[in-house]
Every structure is written in structure tokens, then in C-alpha cells.
Amino acid sequence: MIEIVPGAKNVEEVLEHDPVFKLVGMRLAHPAVLGVVLFLIVVAIVLLGPASESRFIYTDF
């Protein structure tokens, strides 16, 4: 949500004060970092996902 900045004259001034814009504008938001973050998210989803691929019903009891 973009905040209404009192006294701001145009969109650029509003964005300069917006926390999301600041985050995206940081040096950390380099494309390589985005690639690493995406990689970590995908790996975490695969690792922490439920064992839905448990495909064999074993009924010992």
C-alpha cells in the first residue's frame, strides 16, 4: 500500500517514501539475488512438502 505523503508533489516523491519501493530499489534486489531467492523457495517447497507421492497403500494393520 502506497502511503499518502503530506507535501509530496508528484509520483516520484511519493515512491521515494514508499517502503516497498525502497526495498526493490536496494542493491540487494539484484537479479542474481532474485534467482537465489527463487531457487531457495522452490527447493524448500519440494523438501518441506507433504509426502503426497506416497503412492502405495500399505495395510499391515
Binding site: G35, V42, V46, A51, D60
Partner: protein
């Protein structure tokens, strides 16, 4: 504005490049360092089994004893370090455990076909024959484990396939997508094995739940309240006379013929059975006749039979047929001289 668009595309391209480079690096690392388990994982994948078979094929011919069987030989409810094959390996025998939960004569046959098709030449094969798996209502009676089926399914003849029931639908969009991703991404294909290596459970949720239940004491209470009682096993054993219409008999006969044709020495263990627990259901003349039928079938085909049906005391069982850690040690002591011959 076109400049900004190009810049954005360039940034996305760079991110994608890093993303795929990391995935490729992870796959290389998994290929190089992912450990082999002492036995197949609880929920083993087809690529993991394929790797285990490939490793066996690389071993010098006639150097290893391959163990094929069900949860009894797999070591149900026990850590891998306490099951019978690990005990045999500690005693100096070169054994490789390819048993898994949900084994049956049909699974034994399919796994033998897979091993032989990949050039595995074992020194001997040890397999177990469990009377409960001749029961048409047993979960593995007519079903091949899906990961084994994925590798060995096309090795079976049309007649053999006709005896079996499908376990998974491989034609759905979800299954095809899963197959495609698995074919191109090793980490994804091995996810069930990796999860077990990391969490010692089928997934993180089960591992967390397990830890909470142990800490709270709920697990101990549950196990105390759910000790195996005879009524749980009513219907587990079918005492109809065995004949060649029984699917497990058909595949047992095929396994015996295959081993003889390939000149592979084989030892069949008639699975230890808890007669104290199951007395009301199985201590009848027909049970003995069925056991004799199986023994004759095996011996006529040249398979050495170790009859352990009544060898173990009730205290060495977890339930109807699965052995405790002490039971597994005792089993290893019995099997060791048979396999060392």
C-alpha cells in the same frame, strides 16, 4: 519506455539464469554425494531403486547376496541398523537388502526380472515367502510397488501384467507432469528419499508430529493402547487350499523357474509366524498343507528352504510376523550359516 522494458527482460533473464544454474548445481551435487541407505527408504523412488540396481550391476559377478522380500526382511518398525541384513553384514557377509514394505511373490519376481535385465549376477538370492501374501485381500497380492513397476513393468509379459492390478494412474495430466519434471530434475525425482534422509520420516510434517508425540508421551500411550491383539489379524491369512490359480503361487513359481534358468543359488525363508497370537486363525491342518505346498514348489525348483514358521517365540515378534531387534539378531544367527555355504 522500450529501454525500461528491455532492462526488465534482461534482469528477469539474469535471475532465471542464476535460478537454473543453481538447480543444475544441486542436481550435480545430489548425483555425486547423495548417500545410499542400508535398505530401501520407506517411500523409495524409482530413480533411487534404479541407482541401487546400477550399483549392484557394477559389483563383481557372484560377489554379493541379494535379499529380496517384504517388511519382515526390511525391518518393520526398526532402524536399519537393527534389521537382519545389517546384522548379517556385520557378521562379514556381503549382503544387499532390496526388501521393501509391501513385498510379495509378484514383487519378488518383478525385482528379479529388473536385476537380471540390468546384468546383476548375485552370488545368491535370499527371499522370504510369507503365507499372508497368498491371501487375495493382501495389499501386495496383485500389486507391484509403483517405483518398481515404473522400472520393471515393461519387462513383464502381457500375461504376467494381466495377473496384476494397476497401482497408480500414469495417464492423468498430474502424473504426466510429475513424470516430466522427474525425468529432468533429479532433486525432484529423489525427493521422497531425500526427505527420509533429512527427516527420518516420509516428510517434515510427519517428523514434526512424531517429535511432538514423543515429547508429550502421546506416542508411548498410543502404542500401549494398540498392542497387537488376535482380532486385528482376522482375515489376514486365507486358508483356502493353494493352487495355480493363486496369483502369488503363479509368481512364486515364475521366480523359482527364473532363478533355476539363470543358475542363481537361492535360499527361501518361510517367514516366522507368531502362532501364539494367531492361534485361532491359522493353527489348522490347512495352514500346514499350504505351507507344505509352498515348500514343495520351492524345493522342486532347486531352492533351498529354511522353514522358520514355528521357530520364534512370541516374545520375539512385534505383531503377527515382524520381528523385534532381538528377533532380527536371532534370525541373522539362523541365516548366516545357510548363506555362508
Amino acid at each position: 519506455m522500450p529501454g525500461a522494458g528491455l532492462k526488465l527482460l534482461g534482469a528477469l533473464g539474469a535471475a532465471a539464469l542464476v535460478f537454473f544454474a543453481l538447480l543444475a548445481a544441486l542436481d550435480l551435487a545430489i548425483g555425486a554425494w547423495f548417500p545410499g541407505f542400508e535398505r530401501l527408504s520407506e517411500n523409495f523412488s524409482a530413480p533411487y531403486l534404479e541407482r541401487a540396481v546400477r550399483d549392484l550391476a557394477k559389483a563383481p559377478a557372484r560377489s554379493e547376496i541379494v535379499v529380496i522380500g517384504d517388511s519382515v526382511l526390511w525391518g518393520y518398525k526398526l532402524p536399519a541398523t537393527e534389521n537382519v541384513t545389517t546384522q548379517l553384514a556385520r557378521g562379514g557377509l556381503a549382503v544387499r537388502n532390496l526388501s521393501f514394505e509391501g513385498g510379495s511373490p509378484a514383487n519378488t519376481y518383478a525385482l528379479l526380472r529388473l536385476l537380471l535385465a540390468n546384468g546383476v549376477r548375485p552370488r545368491a538370492v535370499l527371499f522370504n515367502v510369507n503365507q499372508k501374501e497368498f491371501n487375495p485381500s493382501d495389499s501386495a497380492y496383485q500389486k507391484i510397488h509403483p517405483s518398481l513397476d515404473a522400472l520393471a513393468g515393461n519387462l513383464l509379459s502381457r500375461d504376467e501384467r494381466a495377473q496384476l492390478l494397476p497401482t497408480v494412474d500414469r495417464t492423468s495430466i498430474e502424473a504426466r507432469l510429475d513424470g516430466w519434471i522427474s525425468a529432468h530434475w533429479r532433486f525432484y525425482a529423489l525427493r521422497s528419499d531425500i526427505r527420509e534422509a533429512l527427516f527420518n520420516q516420509v516428510d517434515a510434517a510427519h517428523a514434526l508430529d512424531d517429535a511432538v508425540q514423543i515429547v508429550s508421551g502421546a506416542k508411548a500411550r498410543f502404542e500401549a493402547e494398540h498392542r497387537p491383539t488376535p482380532d486385528r489379524f482376522e482375515g489376514t491369512y486365507d486358508l483356502s487350499p493353494l493352487d495355480d490359480k493363486n496369483v502369488s503361487v503363479i509368481f512364486l513359481r515364475k521366480s523359482v523357474a527364473l532363478l533355476a534358468r539363470e543358475r542363481i543359488p537361492a535360499v527361501a525363508m518361510l517367514t516366522p509366524t507368531n502362532h501364539v497370537l494367531l492361534h485361532d486363525f491359522i493353527d489348522t491342518p490347512q495352514y500346514g498343507k499350504n505351507l507344505e505346498f509352498v515348500r514343495t514348489l520351492l524345493e522342486r525348483g532347486g531352492v533351498r528352504v529354511v522353514d522358520l514358521d514355528r521357530t520364534f517365540g512370541s516374545g520375539q515378534f512385534i505383531d503377527n510376523d515382524h520381528l523385534t531387534a532381538a528377533g532380527n539378531r536371532h534370525l541373522a544367527e539362523i541365516l548366516e550359516p545357510e548363506l555362508a555355504r
